[in-house]
Amino acid sequence: MRTIKAFAAIAAMIFMAACSSNEQQAAAPATTTVTPGSVADFRQNVGDRVFFDTDMSVIRPDGRETLNRQAEWLKKYTNYPITIEGHCDERGTREYNLALGERRANAASQYLIAQGIPAARIKTISFGKENPDPPGSDEGAWARNRRDVTALQ
């Protein structure tokens, strides 16, 4: 009986700890200190997303800045292979958007390769319009859905 109680107490503490750490993450501004070289470091201090204009796969100037930071970070922390996910907004047809997402992922991949990241470290995948984030149906949401996400493996 006693052991079970103790176990329950520990579980509750772990649960609370998990909650509070989630809350911290959710509320964290970009300046939060995170372990350099961690996934959180990459997401918060480098930026894992680049955005595209409607029906385009050309890397915009703001995207180039993000990819430059990604290249710099990836050269410093060489243990991560990456997958670049290409995504689209919902204002296109399913099959075409799968191809457009592939083209967007490829554009970022080519850019990183040109910055000196070995092609063997990079995979690409398209999700077309299947994984919107955020899930809205307005210009603001669509602009954020037209994206590449660089995921560390």
Binding site: Y96, L98, G136
Partner: protein, 439 residues
């Protein structure tokens, strides 16, 4: 599934048409005229077995949902003692405004059921058609659809499409982690079953001409580029169709079922390939730096229509089924996508994206005579009924408050006059209409 089918020669009971009927509905309809009136039809519960009422219910539902018929409510019928093997009292049926009357009976026949039906032309006062079928009792829904097809054909002059199935993508869950799995159901929504397990996203199912197999695109694992799979519908056995580097998607069978055409993406280029289903030989059909996708064979298998952004925006192109001779056929304002060639060869249906939203339209195969049939915030992915006179597509409402907007299947006739929602157990997209089920 085996049916024995024979037309019954029911000596035409030439009851004198009697008093000249006042000008009223006819038992024929020209569905290509946009101002047609639905044909009023009375369908009596089939006699002889409890399943008779269910059969009549399926027939009423099929005909009513076509938009070409108005099923008269059985509660208004005057003649209650109608005998399926004798002439009805035509005056009673004219009295309820019917142009056609359907009667039938079900008999047990050594473990099978025997179903007879007759369509009476109430206006003229004679039999219009009659058929008799033998089948296993479990086939009663199919028998009802086959009878509805026979009535549809007699009245419209067109082949019916009720004895068919629809494959589609069942969608459930929040947008951030949505489950998308392939399902197959009867055209009227009955007998729904799932073909993939929903563990990874599966999209764009398409039937083989025999309905025994489907091809579709799925992510083999999370974070693994999509591939095209060929799956036996009954056994569930599935196999990868081709092992290309990169992503393969947008598959579609040739009309004879020997080939599958699909798109392959690599390094930002998407081209069209054909694959021999048996020998698995593959051949590249387009070679551009653009996105060439959504290929679909012509009804005779000699040409392929597809969409490409090679000219700057997404437009429709036609090429030879062997590749080559590519020419653009869409020239209106906006982007054109997902072209599908009518099984009767007269039209190509498509999705159109313009400033005002999405639309479903048809054009002749040379690109002329464009007509829009449906529009909305997002309508996409037309598929033809086997008679080439009805289309199904999907309609998505805007997402709001982080919630996914509803996604539903819809069907519309070729005049664009009659649209209805097709019932599905879950949200649904990417419909693929089967050919008539082989009898």
């Amino acid at each position: 599934m085996k049916f024995s089918r024979r037309s019954t020669i029911l000596g035409s009971v030439a009851l004198a048409a009697g008093s000249a009927a006042p000008a009223r509905a006819q038992l024929t309809i020209d569905m290509t005229r946009p101002n047609f009136e639905p044909v009023p039809i009375a369908i009596v519960d089939f006699s002889g077995d409890r399943v008779g009422a269910d059969i009549a219910g399926v027939i009423r539902n099929d005909l009513q949902n076509s938009g070409l018929f108005r099923s008269i409510s059985p509660s208004s019928f005057i003649q209650r003692d109608v005998d399926a093997s004798a002439a009805p009292r035509f005056a009673d049926w004219r009295g309820v405004g019917a142009a056609g009357l359907v009667v039938g009976q079900v008999q047990q026949a050594g473990g099978n059921i025997k179903v007879d039906f007759r369509l009476w032309d109430v206006v003229v006062g004679q039999q219009a058609t009659g058929l008799s079928f033998n089948s296993q009792p479990s086939n009663w829904r199919r028998l009802a659809h086959i009878i509805a097809d026979a009535i549809y054909k007699r009245v419209t002059g067109e082949e019916g499409y009720f004895d068919t199935r629809v494959a589609y993508v069942s969608e459930t869950g929040p947008l951030s982690s949505r489950t998308k799995r392939i399902a197959i159901m009867d055209q009227d929504g009955a007998n729904n079953r799932y073909i993939t397990d929903g563990r990874t996203i599966a999209l764009t199912p398409r039937f083989s001409p025999t309905l025994q197999e489907i091809v579709y695109m799925a992510y083999p694992e999370d974070r693994t580029p999509p591939r095209v799979f060929l799956q036996n519908v009954d056994s569930g056995r599935r196999e990868l169709l081709g092992n290309f580097p990169g992503m393969s998607f947008a598959p579609r069978f040739s009309p004879d079922g020997t080939k599958v055409v699909m798109s392959i993406s690599a390094e930002g280029r998407t081209n069209i390939y054909e694959m021999d289903v048996r020998g698995r030989a593959q051949r590249r059909l387009t070679n551009s730096a653009a996105i060439d996708t959504s290929p679909c064979y012509s009804n005779d298998g000699t040409q392929i229509v597809f969409n490409s952004d090679r000219g700057g925006t997404q437009q429709l192109y036609i090429m030879s089924a062997a590749g080559g001779g590519e020419r653009r056929i869409s020239f209106g304002e906006g982007r054109y996508a997902t072209p599908v060639w009518s099984p009767r060869g007269d039209y190509i249906a498509f999705t159109k994206i313009s400033g005002s939203g999405f639309g479903i339209g048809v054009m002749r195969t040379d690109g002329s005579g464009e007509r829009m049939l449906a529009s909305g915030f997002l309508v996409e992915g037309p598929t033809w009924a086997p008679n080439g006179r009805v289309l199904m597509f999907f309609r998505q409402q805007p997402n709001s408050g982080g919630r996914a907007g509803s996604v539903t299947l819809a069907q519309v006739d070729i005049t664009g006059r009659f649209e209805r929602q097709v019932p599905t157990p879950t949200d649904a997209s990417d419909p693929a209409w089967s050919p008539l089920i082989p009898q």
